[in-house]
């Protein structure tokens, strides 16, 4: 019966405890709706034929409803609506209050990917691993704009609001892979902001966590992320940001527009800078690369010549990634420093 | 826009008001004009209500920052402006009183006083603003006042500038409306039969006063 209704309604499979509750209410609401609409529709169609016009300028009786009828019109829908509300709100409270023993996963949405971190590691991009039959609380935030974390198979959804955490929780009932979708419009690649939840059996989960915390699977994790649906330049920028954090660029360069020891990365690409020689240059890939390799060569006026060279410290791809990253800081629609949320550092 | 409900009803032929063709009588026409004005004032109240809601929410979230930031405002200026605006509201009410008695000269006098006080209000506001600019107590990202760095302080000044700015804009509109009614009074137009324009203009002015009566404690006295 469940299976059949699920198919008729095109519902995805039920893979969480909440999904079963929601679907039960769904079936209840749909059946009452269909039956009552059928009743109203039948009555209407019957009236259309029974009381069709038989002669032009026909007169009719003056009919007004009795108080009893009007009472029925009010009380019947009110009864069903309030019943649904009671059931629905009970379930809503259920999904808004995570159980005390839930395990926490931090979820961060950013344009256009999902990042997951567990309090004691590891981190993941676009793939969330959770154990089956165990409540998982998601603490959701965003780095830039609103996103919304949606797993159809779990029937859960919660907006990711920059600068703060929202929460939801689920308890997956069977191992498998389920799709994550972003349901709050978040810009150009909104429809590409996909991810997946991998539900593992308890044994697999323990093994996975152990392996992750050793760091042995980090590479595989990266490879997985590479295969994700995320567009290539964004991926490079993402790596560039990681690398920049690792080698310490942010000790001297801010990304929020404020000058620090060095000029800010925000809006650097494409900007016209006055050098200490008095010459104006337009910042491009070549200049950024050269500044990393030979910082003293073309110094921006007003900044001390204190930057060490990164020649030999950065590989070619890493340099390119940092350049890509700085390029993403060019437009005002990249929000930096907006979020008061967690700063995710890569697991070493 | 603001004056339209007032003018639409009163087809402005001097001295003797005329009933527009679609109204049953002058009384109905005046009633319509007044009701229209009330509805318009209701929209103004709801407009400011949006700002009040924003204020209430952020004050709830940042009580200390708001309390400290409000002490950065000049209470003397604020009190003076409140008294000024209340008095101007009083003179506007008196103008209606004189209009009913067809004392057009006194109507002119009262409205000129009102407009002068409105001007005074704006001048005081200008000095307040100038001081804020000087201290960098400015909205959002422009806020750079070293004396108060609690989170929420910049939000306070954002709301301060938005609400007083919107209010000052209404003061200016009110001055224009009252100026226009004053011109009509100079032409000796008003009498017991025809004072709707005076009444509606002064109602608008009272609304400006009403909004300030709430803005003043919210911004200056918490």
């Amino acid at each position: 019966m469940n299976e059949l209704l699920n198919n008729i309604l095109f519902l995805p499979e039920q893979a969480s405890t909440f999904a079963e509750r929601v679907d039960n209410l769904h079936y209840f609401v749909v059946s009452v709706t269909m039956l009552s609409s059928l009743a109203v529709g039948t009555a209407a169609v019957f009236f259309f034929f029974r009381y069709r016009k038989r002669k032009p300028n026909q007169t009719t009786e003056y009919v007004v409803p009795s108080v009893k009828t009007e009472f029925l019109f009010v009380s019947l829908p009110l009864f069903f609506f309030l019943t649904w509300f009671v059931i629905g709100f009970r379930d809503f409270v259920f999904v808004s209050t995570p159980p005390k023993d839930a395990m926490d996963v931090y979820v961060m949405g950013k344009q256009w990917m999902w990042k997951f971190s567990y309090p004691e590691g590891p981190n993941g991009v676009n793939v969330l691993h959770v154990p089956a039959n165990r409540p998982v609380r998601l603490l959701i935030t965003s780095r830039d704009v609103l996103h919304s974390f949606f797993v159809p198979a779990f029937r859960i959804k919660m907006d990711a609001v920059p600068g703060r955490y929202t929460q939801t929780w689920f308890e997956a009932t069977k191992p498998g892979t389920y799709q994550i979708l972003c349901t709050e419009y978040c810009g150009l690649s909104h429809s590409k902001m996909l991810g997946e939840v991998v539900v593992l059996s308890p044994e697999e989960w323990d093994a996975w966590v152990k392996e992750q915390r050793k760091g042995a699977l980090q590479n595989r994790q990266d490879a997985l992320a590479d295969l994700s649906l995320e567009p290539h330049p964004a991926r490079m920028a993402e790596q560039g940001q990681k690398v920049a954090a690792e080698v310490g660029c942010f000790k001297c360069h801010t990304v929020n527009g404020e000058p620090h020891i060095g000029p800010t990365f925000l809006g650097m690409y494409g900007r016209t800078e006055t050098l200490d020689t008095g010459r104006d240059i337009r910042v491009d890939e070549a200049w950024i690369t050269q500044s990393m390799m030979d910082p003293g060569a073309h110094l921006v006026a007003g900044y001390p010549n204190v930057m060490p060279t990164f020649q030999g410290k950065l590989t070619g791809p890493q340099t390119a990634a940092i350049v890509e990253y700085i390029k993403t800081l060019r437009t005002p629609d990249i929000r930096t420093g907006a979020s008061q949320g967690p700063t995710y550092e890569p697991i070493q | 826009m603001q004056s339209s409900p007032a003018t639409a009803g009163a087809a402005g032929v001097p001295y003797r008001p005329q009933v527009a063709a679609h109204f049953a009588s002058l009384e109905v026409q005046n009633h319509a004009a007044r009701l229209g004005m009330w509805l318009f004032l209701a929209t103004e109240i709801l407009l400011f209500a949006g700002l009040f809601v924003i204020y209430a929410n952020y004050r709830f979230l940042f009580p200390e920052a708001f309390a400290l930031a409000s002490r950065e405002l000049n209470l003397n200026f604020g009190t003076f402006n409140t008294l000024l605006l209340i008095t101007s509201s009083f003179t506007a009410a008196m103008a209606v009183h004189y209009a009913k008695e067809a004392q057009n000269k006194k109507v002119v006098g009262m409205f000129v006083l009102t407009i002068l006080m409105a001007l005074g209000f704006l001048v005081v506001k200008y000095f307040e603003y100038e001081h804020k600019f000087h201290e960098h107590q400015l909205p959002g990202p422009y806020y750079a006042f070293p004396g108060l760095t609690l989170p929420g302080a910049s939000a306070y000044f954002t709301i301060y500038f938005l609400s007083t700015g919107l209010h000052a804009f209404h003061v200016i509109i009110g001055m224009i409306v009252l100026g226009w009614v004053t011109l009509k009074a100079m032409r000796n137009e008003f009498s017991h039969h025809n004072y709707t324009a005076v009444e509606l203009g002064s109602m608008y002015w009272h609304l400006v006063d009403l909004v300030w009566i709430f803005l003043f404690p919210m911004l200056y006295l918490i």
Partner: protein, 557 residues
């Protein structure tokens, strides 16, 4: 402001006294210069101009809709790139909501019919009325200019912080919407004052036609809600330009507060769109089943009830936005009340047919479609309000299908029914009944074919505003696009035969439906000041078919 002052001395609107007292020209031919139309103060001409403009905006919005649907034909990129797609669905929403749905029925039919139904010569403030049309057009011009010069990609909800940081042209479009808000306020204000002060003798509050009640309730919402939208739009424009940080989380702002303020307008706005539709349908069902409205007071009260409770249901748009659980409960219950009020209306409409004399003409066909869309759209709305069902459905295609059913479906049905029902009243011509029924059937079928797959897509979990989608959603999307083309075809047919009827249609009788609505108590099309000779007396309630009084209903058939 300028049109209102410049027309102060314009005599064209008030016709010179006519020699032939018995032969007053209809409003359509009383003054044929362009100026006599553009600067008219006649509510009927303003209504007709509104009709022309909203139809144009409907066409623009419809083209955007077709572009969106075509793009979604295949899972990957089909026709346009992602940016264009994002702009297209935003523009579809903005144009359809602010330029079509909100002004359509109040602007066109409210303006035309309200004074006629009240036995008045005009609305209370004719100049304000004209001003509201030109404010609408000013706002439209600014917004459309913005659309051409870049467009906006935020979705019509303008959620911060995306809307304050996107590089697309947010400012002119929001500013355009802000001006359109003034137009909406002006219309609403005018209607409230007209209803209060202009009722002819005999038309007491409980004898007003239900269309007037619906317009009155709508006008209350317009007056009370629109200023808040105006403020919010200004704040977003300000944020976008100056980055005040009022809704910016980086500066302690709260994006959820933006949603509260936005929906404080935009949820009641749904009733601005649908209440006039309820009003039109109350008239149509009474006229074509030749019966008094069953439970007149219940229907009138429920309009006011929807207007009031509808204001305090806005939080059901925010169940998964981070709003508190407590608030979700409060808003869920209040939303249920809206459902109850709507149910009262539905039952009473069906009850009206009971013991009636149904004349199955085109408007009545649209009434059937309307009933269907209202029941299913309303019931899915109630399902949303259970809070827990909203969690999986929120921002999926289920929402899209739901509001297209209740808000668009019901309103379009009413709009089409109103055009057909009042076509002879407004233009004195008759359209082809057969084609009318064919296109009604096509439109209703097309609507279902478009949006029933979208309900299922939503159940399956396809989020809205997706440029590309997983392949498992393809079949249903193709079905939906096919339905959309059927829908477009249906509208095309109506456009053709209605235009034909306008030019070559046979002259309609003064009251071809033999309707006993108040608006039919004058000639069709009405003379400039609505009545010639003595004012009609309104001794009976509208749609009183108990005993025909031929003397009062001029009927030339």
């Amino acid at each position: 402001m300028s049109p209102s002052s410049s027309i102060a001395a314009e005599p064209g609107a008030v016709p010179a006294p006519d020699e032939h007292h018995e032969h007053h020209p209809s409003y359509l031919v009383d003054g044929t210069t362009v100026k006599s139309w553009l600067l008219t103060l006649d509510h009927k001409r303003i209504g007709v101009m509104y009709l022309i403009w909203v139809l144009l905006f409907f066409l623009i919005g419809g083209i955007y809709a077709l572009v969106v649907r075509l793009e979604l034909l295949t899972p990957g990129p089909t026709l346009i790139d992602a940016m264009t797609y994002n702009r297209a669905f935003t523009m579809h929403g903005v144009v359809m909501i602010f330029l079509f749905m909100i002004p359509a029925i109040p602007g066109a039919f409210g303006n035309f019919m309200l004074p006629l139904m009240l036995g008045a010569k005009d609305v209370a403030f004719p100049r304000l009325n004209l001003l509201s049309l030109y404010l609408l057009l000013t706002g439209a011009v600014i917004a459309i200019w913005g659309m051409i010069n870049g467009g906006m990609d935020t979705g019509w909800t303008f959620y911060t912080p995306y809307s304050t940081h996107t590089t697309t042209t947010v400012a002119p479009i929001l500013f355009g919407a802000f001006i359109i808000g003034f137009s909406s306020i002006a219309t609403g204000l005018n209607f409230i004052v007209t209803t209060h002060t202009m009722r002819a003798p005999g038309i007491t509050w409980w004898k007003m036609p239900l269309f007037v009640w619906a317009m009155y309730a709508t006008a209350c919402i317009q007056v009370l809600a629109t200023p808040v939208l105006g403020l919010v739009l200004l704040l977003v424009v300000g944020e976008h330009i100056f980055h005040f940080g009022i809704f910016d989380p980086a500066q302690g702002g709260d994006p959820v507060l933006f949603q509260h303020l936005f929906w404080f307008y935009s949820h009641p706005a749904v009733y601005i769109m649908v209440l006039p539709a309820f009003g039109v349908m109350s008239e149509v069902v009474a006229a074509f089943s030749r019966k008094n409205i069953f439970g007149y007071r219940a229907v009138a009260f429920s309009s006011l009830g929807i207007a009031f409770v509808g204001f305090f249901a806005w939080g059901h748009h925010m169940f998964v936005s981070g709003q508190s659980t407590f608030n979700a409960g409060v808003f869920a219950v209040l939303t249920m009340l809206v459902g109850v009020f709507t149910a009262i209306k539905v039952f009473n409409w069906v009850g009206t047919v009971y013991k009636g004399a149904v004349d199955f003409k085109t408007p009545f066909a649209y009434f059937c479609g309307f009933l269907y869309f209202t029941v299913f759209g309303g019931m899915t709305g109630v399902a949303f309000a259970t809070a827990s069902l909203d969690v999986p459905w929120h921002d999926t295609y289920f929402v899209v299908a739901h509001f297209h059913f209740i808000m668009v479906g019901a309103t379009i049905m009413a709009f089409m029914a109103a055009i057909h029902y009042w076509f002879p009243k407004m233009f004195g011509k008759m359209y082809h009944e057969g084609w009318g029924l064919v296109s009604a059937a096509l439109i209703i079928l097309g609507f279902n074919a478009t949006f029933i797959p979208q309900f299922l897509l939503g159940n399956a979990g396809m989020p809205r505003r997706y440029y590309e989608y997983p392949e498992r959603f393809e079949t249903l999307n193709v079905a939906s696009t096919a339905g959309a083309s059927l829908l477009a075809f249906g509208f095309l047919i109506s456009a053709i035969y209605l235009t034909y009827a306008l030019v070559y249609g046979r002259r309609a009788a003064s009251n071809p439906w033999r309707s006993r609505g108040y608006e039919w108590m004058t000639e069709s099309p009405p003379p400039t000041h609505n009545f010639v000779g003595p004012q009609p007396t309104y001794s009976e309630e509208p749609h009183f078919y108990v005993e025909p009084k031929k003397a009062e209903v001029p009927d030339a058939v």
